[in-house]
Amino acid sequence: MKVNRRKFLTTSLAMGAAGMGLLESSFASAEWLAADFAPGSFDATMKQLLNGKPIVETDKIELTIPEIAENGALVPVTVSSSLKDIRRIAIVVEQNPVPLAIEAELMQELELFMSARLKLAGTSFVFAIAETDKVCYSVKKKVKVTIGGCGG
């Protein structure tokens, strides 16, 4: 199911040049997918996120997150970028049972800027992934957690 929807989304986006209306409608239909947020390995999540697109490490995305988090249950994160044509930003925590934390679609009306607060199960790399038509840009930072975020 998910592959079909992704495929449909990609093809309809590829045709997007033909009509902005179509582009917008596929944005609006972005639905929450259980498969994306299923517990799984980091690699599987990344594979699903990238959807066959090459991954490019970049310094043009700014990922602001504390290097040492005292409390893993509340880690503030900010992603911003000056890159154009980004339509989706995802935040992935490598060591979490469910690695994908947030997958956001930001329309043209918004600057590429988003803040949120994450739970971290433990010390982990946090990835910010920005998806464009052709590639996925990624940036990662290591966060050291002194108290786990799993417990209450």
Binding site: A30, A73, I102, M107, E109, L110, E111
Partner: protein, 103 residues
């Protein structure tokens, strides 16, 4: 009372939208210490931000977002009187929304 708080602030011609939602964001792996049973998963799945009726952001999320989630966005432009609507849906089908007018 709504579970959503919205604050907006005009910064250099842009508008910062901040929101704080009160929600447990349980991922389903925590145990209730009193009964020693698992607390069922209860978390927001989709958060939508609308500006004057047009959707400007759709955030899909899992339980990897902390309890009482906070989000901030930066709207290009925006003027006093513009309407911001934020709504959420969680995995149990609960939903809520809040309207805010940029001042």
């Amino acid at each position: 009372m709504s579970s959503i708080k919205i604050r907006t602030k005009r910064i250099d011609g842009n508008t910062q939208i901040r929101t704080l939602i009160s929600h447990p964001m349980e991922h389903g792996r925590n145990k209730d210490k009193a009964t020693n049973k698992l607390i069922p998963a209860h978390y927001i799945q989709v958060l939508t931000v609308k500006h004057n009726g047009k959707t400007i952001a759709i955030c899909n999320m899992g339980a990897g977002v902390s309890k009482d989630p906070y989000f901030a966005f930066l709207l290009k432009g925006g003027k006093p009187g513009d309407e911001i609507i934020i709504d959420w849906v969680d995995n149990l089908g609960n939903k809520d929304f809040e309207k805010h007018t940029i001042s």
